[in-house]
């Protein structure tokens, strides 16, 4: 499973952080997180002509030691949400509560101690490593910034980290360009691990890798979770990967969470039509099953987040949509007959065993026109 030829060995010196108190509440809580990006025009006096509603009121709890998967199409706000969690983006509204502390309004210097406990693994193993710096100094950066280790001690710790993630410690002085994609992602993992964080936000950590290498990285992340008691927020658009790693899964569509449940529950009986369509679109590595299952093909594209549809954001493409859907936004709640942890934001959830036939948008042109003419939506609803 290791592409550098060095087995992953549990390093004795890397002591996991003391186990968190079991009753200390969730590690991370998002309360109605909103992130808009302004669109500005003008040369001298920039005026705001619109805003991209990338994340629109996401609430989520992440318990200690669990892995929460976050899935959705490209552009649904997954990565923006990840950057809101790690405060790489300032929030437009809402709160991020990390280990009981609201970190939403903290300044850069106040945030630094929390950065130690909250790390990120990036999608692009090429872009996320500085091409002009040696691997040793890249992995050693967190140690240097937080004043944890210096000189030979830092080098020792970095080489230890490299061993933990399955890199050859002899490669300390190499440049990122001398590594393969999988090895580079290991470098990213080692850098995230350097500060012994409690939470690691993985922003599509394997989507840029070969399938065989994906498995290696995922196994590595799982091993490390057991060893260091890590909590993951795992973002991906590959449903198989998410199903494999996650304890719970949240499905996002156009900046909102539309459904959230335990992994087996969500994959077994999806309630939101979008989830059902998403699941039906994923490849099944079993020809028998693949032939018997039917695909729900959605029509049209994801609407623009600059001007999202009114009511339920999915109504323009939903095979089950009714006029109510374009008017009233469904809250994220437990649907009748579902277990407590299964939340769905839908007025007309898919019944267990129901087949979504006639995947054409159910809402007629008349409704769309009605929506387009209603105040607050001057243009653009397709």
């Amino acid at each position: 499973m290791v592409d550098a030829g060095v087995p992953v060995t549990p390093a004795r010196d890397l002591q996991p952080l003391p186990a968190p108190l079991p009753d200390a509440g969730p590690l991370l809580r998002l309360e109605n997180v909103v992130k808009h990006f302004p669109i500005k025009r003008g040369i001298f006096f920039k005026r705001q002509v619109g805003r991209v509603q990338a994340v629109e009121g996401v609430s989520l709890e992440v318990r200690r030691g669990e892995t929460v998967g976050l899935v959705g199409e490209t552009g649904c706000g997954k990565s923006t949400l990840a950057r809101c969690i790690t405060r790489l983006h300032p929030l437009t509204a809402g709160r991020v509560v990390f280990d009981g502390v609201d970190i939403t309004q903290l300044s850069a210097s106040q945030l630094r101690p929390y950065r130690r406990r909250m790390q990120m693994i990036f999608q692009d193993p090429f872009g996320s490593l500085n091409p002009r710096r040696r691997v040793g100094s890249i992995i050693g950066d967190p140690l240097a910034i937080h004043g944890i280790a210096d000189g030979p001690e830092r080098k020792r710790q970095v080489q230890e980290l490299m061993e933990v993630v399955g890199l050859n410690p002899e490669h300390y002085n190499r440049f990122p360009s001398e590594f393969s994609g999988g090895q580079r992602q290991r470098i990213g993992v080692a850098r995230a691990l350097a500060l012994r964080p409690s939470l690691i936000v993985c922003d599509e950590p394997v989507s840029a890798l070969d399938v065989s290498v994906q498995a290696q990285i995922i196994n590595l992340l799982e091993d490390l979770q057991g060893e260091f008691g890590l909590t993951y927020v795992f973002i991906a658009h590959d449903l198989a990967v998410v199903e494999h790693v996650s304890d719970r899964v949240a499905v996002m569509y156009l900046g909102k969470i539309v459904e959230m449940a335990e992994t087996a529950e969500l994959f077994g009986s999806p309630r939101h039509p979008y989830t059902a369509a998403l699941l039906s679109a994923s490849m099944v590595a079993d020809p028998e099953k693949a032939r018997s299952s039917h695909r729900v093909v959605l029509y049209g594209d994801v609407p623009s987040p600059i001007n999202p549809p009114s009511g339920c954001r999915f109504h323009t493409r939903c095979p089950k949509a009714q006029p109510l859907c374009s008017v009233e936004e469904p809250p994220l709640r437990v649907q009748p007959g579902d277990p407590g942890g299964h939340l769905t934001a839908c007025h007309f959830p898919v019944a267990p065993g129901e087949r979504l036939v006639g995947a054409e948008p159910a809402i007629s042109a008349a409704v769309t026109e009605y929506v387009a003419s209603s105040p607050g939506a001057e243009e653009g609803t397709p």
């Binding site: 500085n130 002009r132 040696r134 050859n168 490669h171 001398e178």
Partner: protein
């Protein structure tokens, strides 16, 4: 934390497994060849770079040996010597006459000695002004590009203003107010040169700061200062080095221009610009050595730095191609000739012959 590595392309960066196994056997850490070292290796194999370096070393030696030349010949660079420096008709000696290798000027001063002393001023001004301009331009460009917003608006407009300023007029006014001097000359040149570098650095910073590695640095808690100078700057070193090298000859010509106009370093000091200005009235009666030797010195210096700058750019960025580059032949030897390029060259070559 090393600032040195800057990677340029992938040529030669091969993480080959055999090499690493050998190194493992030897029991030492494996060191990636830094892009700087690769660039240096490329530079070493560039004959034009050696030629340029030879020109520059020649002028540096001339500058360093100026007091020695003065002592050996016994000729002062400053004092007029109408007794020994001119012939019995009061006319200056030509090159090779009366022990003056390059002849004398109107007032009997040894032109060789003055050219040698002029080299000191030219190199000092060229290198100091370039250093000041490069450091200042890089810092301001980084700050402007990284912070954006009103800081960027102010700095970027400042760069535009400096670049569009009639710098010769400004230099004349400054010299008239403060009196020409060496520090003022260096200051004026640096002030009118930083914006060119600042603008490039700003543009590069704008593109670099969107890279994911900057986000990664922020996520581990790096401050703005660290991100600018530890993370982004090494990625800008290549263009800065190239621009810096190419700025030296510009600064030297700038200095000569100011001297020629009489607003640079004052007249008693031997500079090439002063020599050209002093002697232009006399050049008419056939004393060509008055202006030829300072001009040749100026030419060799600026040509040397320009050629070196080109070579440095080629070494840092192997993708750029230069006409008559010797090392490209080496690459082609032994390799399968590219049929496409041959056909192209035939077509191009044949085009001139065909009616």
């Amino acid at each position: 934390m090393s600032l040195s590595p800057f990677e340029v392309g992938s040529a030669g960066l091969v993480a080959d497994e055999e090499q690493s196994l050998d190194a493992l056997d030897a029991g030492r850490t494996i060191e990636g060849r830094s892009p700087l070292r690769l660039a240096l290796a490329r530079l070493r194999s560039d004959r034009i770079a050696w030629l340029a370096a030879g020109m520059i070393i020649l002028m540096v030696l001339l500058a360093l040996c100026a007091p020695l030349i003065s002592a050996v010949t016994g000729h002062s660079p400053y004092n007029p010597d109408l007794v020994n420096g001119t012939n019995s008709f009061g006319q200056p000696y030509g090159p090779g006459q009366a022990g003056f290798v390059l002849g004398t000027d109107n007032v009997g001063r040894d032109i060789l000695v003055r050219v040698a002393y002029g080299a000191r001023i030219s190199l000092l001004v060229g290198i100091l002004a370039t250093l000041l301009a490069t450091v200042g331009g890089t810092i301001l460009g980084l700050v402007s590009g990284y912070y954006g917003g009103w800081i960027d608006a102010v700095l970027a407009r400042m760069m535009d203003a400096v670049l569009s300023f009639p710098y010769v007029l400004a230099a004349i006014v400054l010299a008239a107010v403060f009196g020409g001097s060496l520090p003022l000359t260096i200051g004026v040149i640096a002030f009118f040169s930083w914006a060119a570098i600042g603008r490039i650095v700003r543009g590069q910073t704008l593109s670099q700061k969107e890279k994911e590695y900057v986000e990664a640095a922020r996520s581990i808690g790096a401050g703005s200062f660290r991100i600018m100078f530890v993370d982004i700057l090494p990625n800008l070193i290549a263009p800065v080095i190239v621009l810096g090298t190419l700025l030296v000859p510009v600064a030297i010509v700038f200095e000569a221009t100011l001297d020629y106009l009489g607003v640079g370093v004052g007249p008693p000091t031997p500079t090439w610009g002063n020599m050209l200005a002093d002697d232009q009235g006399s050049a008419g009666f056939g004393a060509w050595w008055f202006w030829v030797f300072p001009s040749v010195a100026l030419l060799i210096t600026t040509l040397g730095f320009n050629l070196l700058g080109d070579s440095v750019r080629d070494a840092l960025d192997p993708r750029t191609e230069r006409l008559f580059a010797n090392r490209r032949k080496k690459v082609v030897v032994g390799a399968e000739p590219n049929p496409l390029s041959r056909a192209d060259s035939k077509r191009l070559g044949g085009g001139t012959e065909a009616p």
